[in-house]
Structures are given as C-alpha cells and as structure tokens.
Amino acid sequence: MSVPGAWYLILAAVLFSIGAAGMLLRRNMLVMFMCVELMLNAANLTFVTYSRMLGDVAGQVAVFFVLIVAAAEVVVGLGIIVALFRRRSGATADDFHILKG
C-alpha cells in the first residue's frame, strides 16, 4: 500500500505556497521566475496525485501539457530578460563576442 494521496497533496500545497511566497518576496526576476516553476511543479504533483487517486489518466496528460507550457514560457521569459539586460547595459552581452572561435 502506498502513501495516501492526501499526504502528497499537502506536500504539493506547501510547495505551492513556498513558490508563491518566493514570488512575492524576491525581487530578482530570475528567482521570481524559478518560484513560478516551483508553483507549476506543485500543480503537477497535485495532478499526478489526483490521477492516481481517481484512477484516471487525464491528470497525467495535464502534467504533460503543463510541462510543454513551462518550456515555452521559459524560452520567451528568458528571452525577454536577456533582451532587457542587453538594452540596459549594452556592454554585458555584447562582450561575449570574444567567444567567436
């Protein structure tokens, strides 16, 4: 017999809250974004747990989609951050040109 679902769900809720707290407490954009990922993970864990509890595969499918969305979000979000920083202090990113092999 495996661990009751409720335990997982409480764990997920706490994880979600930690993520939300981080979102509100931190001011570093990247860390805030990571906190969002924590929240998404909490949601995923909830989905998977419910999927097991309900004996329904839909929850796992949802996680699958959330993962895709998270990936797309990260691409765009980090793109925005990079663009923002590059514009702010023109030097930082441009200096990577020395990497030209």
């Binding site: 954009m29 969002v36 949601a43 595969v57 979000e73 979000g77 951050i81």
Partner: protein, 582 residues
C-alpha cells in the same frame, strides 16, 4: 459527421463519454476522434497564415515591404471572420455541441468571440502596419504573433476543457509577452514585457493549480462533465473545489486585469507598442472574460453563492480604483490602461448576476469595447511619433487644430468609452447594468454608474485638451512653455479629485473646492475664446503623415462604435441570441 447536440449540463451523455474514454484507453486499435475542422477553422486559418508569412519571410532575400505581411494578415483575419460567421450560421441552425472529444465548445457564445477576435486581429494588422513602417521594423513577426495570439484567444473562448482553456491562455499570453517587448526603441517596452511576463506566469501558475484542485474535486477537467458532476452530486462544503474555483478566478482575473490583480496593466499598456496595447486590451480581455464567463456560468453556476461575493468585490474594486487612478494619470496610455480596468469592473458587474443575460452583456461589452480601445490606441499610435514616445496628455494639446480627423475620431471613441448615448459604449454599459439590475444588484449597478461619472471626467478632460480649451497658449520661451503647459494640463487634474470624488459624495461641497464663482478680476474683460489662440498657433510637434491603413482602422472603429450605437438592434440581438445557445 453528426455532432452530438450536447448542452452543457447533459449529465448522462457526459457520463457515457467518460466510461467510453476509460474503456478505450488500455488496448485495441487507436480510434482517433473525429476532427471537426469547421469548428476549428478560424484558429486554423490564423495559425496557418502566421506560418505562411513566417516561412515566406525566411525564404526571400530582400525583405518584403511590411504591407505584404499586413495584407496577408488582413486577408487571413477576414477569412477567419467569415469562418466564424459560417460557424455561427451552423450553430444557429443545428444547435450547439461539444466537438473534438468534448474539448471544444461549438456554440453561439464562442462563435461571437471568434468573430470578435478576427475583427480585432484585422484592425490590429492595419494599425500595426503604420507603426512597423515608422519604426523601421521589417519582418512579419509582429503580425504573425498577433495571429497566433488571436488563435489562442479563440481557443480560450471556445474551450470546453480546462486544459484547452489553459493552453489557449498560454498561447495568447506568450505571444503577447513577445509583442509587448517589440518596441526596440523604448526601454519601457522591455520592462513592460518583463512585468507582464512575470505576473502572467504567476497567474497561470495559480490557474494551473486551480485546475488541478478542480480536477481532483470533480474528477474531470471537462467543463461539461464538471457541470454534470456538480449538478448530480450534492457537494457540501467541498473546500478543494472552492479553492480550485477561486484560484481559477484569480488566474483569469490577472489576465483581464481585475483590481487586486491589475498591477501590471498600466505599465504594460504604457510600455508596449501602442497597437499592441490596443490589441492586448481587446483580445486578452475578450479571451479572459470568455473563459471566465463560461467557467463561472456553465460549470460553476451551481456554486453561484460562493463566487458571487468574490466577483462583487472584484467588480467594485476595479470600478473604483480604475476610475480614480485614471484621473491621476498624465499619460494617455496609462489613462487608457486604468480606464480599461474600470471597464473590466463594468463587465464584472454584468457577470455578477450570473444569468444568461450576464453572459450576453459581457459579450456585447467586450465586442464593442474591442473596437473602442483598438481605435483609441490606434490614434495614440499614430500620434506618438518615432519610438512611440509621445503620449503624454500634453502631447494631445490642440490636436483638433492639427489633426481634425484624429481628434474627432478620438473624441468619439473616448465619448463612447465614457458611455455617451448613441454609441455602442453606452449600450454596453446599459447592457451589463441591465443584467445586474435584473439580478437585483442595484447597489452595485449604482456604484458602477458613479464610477462611470468619474471615468467620464478623465475622458472629457482629454477631449478638452484636444480641443485646446481651458488651456492658455504657450508663451515664447520654450522651457517655461513646457512647464506651463504641464501645469495647465494638471490644473483640471488637480481639481479633479475635488470635483469627482467630493462631487460623487455630495454635490454641495464642490463650489468652494473646485472652480467656484465670482473670482473674476473686476473690470478686466475676460479673454474670449481660448480656442482662437490654438487655431492660430503653428502646430508644435512635427507632422507625420497619417498612415492610410491606420486611418482606415480608426475610421472603422469609429463607424462601428457610432453606427451600431444608433442601429443598435443587430449587435444586441447577436449577443442575445448567442447566449441562448450557450
């Protein structure tokens, strides 16, 4: 193809669908569901056109002129509009149903939103064309992203499954994040995108968690099945369900910028390229509200007593804060942003009653608001000049003398937003208020109207500024002139809270506070007609030619706003009928 006529609370059908799905999972040949291309056609057209222009631009060495991409976008949006209309026809004749394994709601409600998004995309393409040409931005990305974003909004509007809803929302929002960042000439653009993105991601995380909890509590993510479940089970104090519902509400609240979740809106509207701000205000709100209305009114209508207080609070806060903060702005885009928040409040007032009328009221409001706000931002976009920078209220001074067409159009659009009769704006307010009143929410409706009064103040102030009244024309020297101009613009602003807030509370208090009588200097004849000066003064800002396409878009917005404000029947009936099929 005989689509099963599913109305949402069809419990039995949903139940059989569930068992069928489960049974089909483990083994046997894969039976693909019937793909209802007709129902998906608007989305497919938009996505396809986006792909087309992206590919085409990659294949040609010389950058094609912007007009090519615009033309494709316009044609595609028009085609999507036609497809939506065909869908509407089909729905009206054959009735609504849930397609694609129940994940897509094909009904009048969604058809109207598809139409709305198509129109908004079309108008955006026209407006953006001029903007892109001015900024020297070659490439089809803006238009392609707009179409993709539009398809996301369409999916949100016709989502019959929380997962589809979520994906639609993400498609819409992620494209908008990028579009918000696309003004390379303004530092604010990147920051706007950043802020939008972070809060957007946060809100979608809330939404996902809400969906997860709802899934757990009801055993499904399908809206129809949730409704069926809730209507058959007696759910007494199901905390998880409530928490899930609230989180969904909050997540969508962020998207539509309802008040405690509005923080991003002013900065984002300010920083984004102006056409994008307009598109955002029209489409993101449409998508968000379409989803919100569908979720609240179909799936969670049983839990009405639980969500109504929340929506009440959101509506009230949005109305009050949106209007009051808008008064304090000295930038047109920020002002429009706050005003859009107060419009959100209005729509929520309609939603609050939770009736079918509420759905059609919200729908009508969003439909007409889309035209107003796209038109408004189009005017701002044209006037803002290279870099999209000049949109302080003072930049609009004396506009009527310089650009009569723009001034007149903007006036109409602003008045419509203020809710002046014979515009769609008035009917929209009337519609949602009617929904609220018919639901018995008199106090809320009254407060909404009071907020409309405050809102009218800042719309009118802008109109006044455009017509150059109440403002003395600048003296010779440059810097003090700028100062004086600011101050004179600020004067009504400073007087604003006195007039509007106190005025709302008690009319008596105003004369001493505001612009009371009898203070004219004795003997000196008052200067007549401040307008005269304005007309004689040479225009301050450099005159860029009015982009023809933007002019067409603005004209179309104005026309829709006025014509359907007078010839009101068709649109109102459309809204009314669409939700009969809800």
């Amino acid at each position: 193809m005989t689509p099963a006529p599913v109305t949402m609370p069809a419990a039995a059908r949903a139940a059989t669908a569930t068992t069928a799905m489960i049974a089909s999972v483990p083994s046997g040949p894969l039976v693909l569901p019937h793909v209802d291309y007709g129902a998906l056609m608007p989305e497919l057209i938009l996505i396809g056109a986006a792909m087309l222009i992206l590919t085409a631009s990659a294949m040609t060495v010389r950058r094609a002129p912007q007009i090519v991409w615009t033309a494709v976008t316009v044609v595609a949006s028009a085609a999507a509009g036609v497809a939506s209309f065909v869908l509407w026809q089909r729905v009206t004749t054959h009735g609504p149903y849930a397609g694609l394994s129940g994940s897509l709601a094909v009904d009048g409600f969604s058809a109207v939103f598809l139409l709305l998004v198509s129109a908004a995309t079309l108008l955006f393409a026209l407006v953006a064309n001029g903007w892109l040409e001015r900024e020297g931005d070659k490439g089809p990305e803006m238009q392609a992203l707009a179409m993709l974003s539009g398809s996301g909004a369409m999916l949100m509007a016709s989502a019959n499954d929380l997962i589809v809803l979520f994906l639609g929302l993400e498609i819409m929002s992620i494209a908008l994040y990028v579009m918000a960042a696309m003004n390379h000439r303004r530092e604010e653009s990147g920051e706007a995108a950043m802020k939008y993105f972070l809060l957007g991601a946060f809100s979608s995380a809330l939404l996902v968690y809400g969906i997860a909890l709802t899934y757990g509590a009801t055993g499904s993510t399908n809206l129809g099945r949730i409704a069926a479940f809730l209507s058959t089970e007696v759910v007494v104090s199901n905390g998880v369900l409530l928490a899930g519902m609230m989180l969904i509400l909050v997540g969508l609240g962020f998207k539509v910028a309802a008040v405690p979740f509005h923080g991003w809106a002013p900065d984002v509207y300010d920083g984004s390229p102006s056409p994008v701000s307009g598109y955002m205000a029209a489409v993101a709100k449409a998508g968000g509200f379409a989803a919100l209305v569908r979720v609240l009114l179909s799936s969670f209508s049983v839990l009405r007593l639980d969500w109504q207080p929340v929506v009440y609070g959101l509506a009230l806060a949005s109305l009050a804060l949106g209007a009051i903060l808008a008064v304090m702005q000295s930038d047109v885009k920020r002002m429009l942003a706050y005003s859009s928040i107060s419009h959100v409040g209005f729509i929520l007032v309609g939603v609050e009653s939770g009736t079918r009328q509420a759905a059609s009221g919200a729908e009508y409001y969003l439909f007409t608001y889309a035209f107003m706000v796209i038109g408004s931002f189009a005017v701002v976009s044209v006037l803002a000049g290279l870099g999209d920078r000049h949109h302080a209220i003072s930049d609009f001074r004396g506009l009527a003398g310089r650009r009569p067409f723009l001034a007149l159009s903007f006036t109409v659009l602003l008045l419509a937003q203020a809710g002046i009769p014979f515009t769609t704006g008035f009917l929209a307010k009337f519609y949602v208020l009617a929904a609220a009143v018919s639901g018995g929410f008199y106090v809320l409706a009254t407060l909404a109207m009071l907020s409309a009064v405050v809102a009218a103040f800042f719309y009118l102030r802008l109109v006044l500024v455009m017509y150059g009244t109440g403002v003395q024309v600048a003296p010779l020297s440059r810097e003090p002139a700028e100062e004086a101009r600011r101050r004179s613009i600020l004067q009504p602003i400073l007087a604003g809270p006195g007039i509007s807030v106190a005025g709302a509370a008690s009319p008596v208090a105003v004369v001493p506070a505001g612009t009371g009588g009898g203070e004219l200097p004795q003997g000196s004849a008052p200067e007549e007609g401040p307008l005269g000066g304005v007309f004689e003064q040479p225009p301050a800002a450099s005159e860029a030619a009015l982009p023809a396409m933007a002019a067409v878009a603005i004209g179309a917005c104005v026309l829709v706003t006025v014509v359907f404000g007078i010839w009101a029947g068709p649109l109102v009936e459309l809204a009314q009928r669409s939700t009969l099929l809800f």
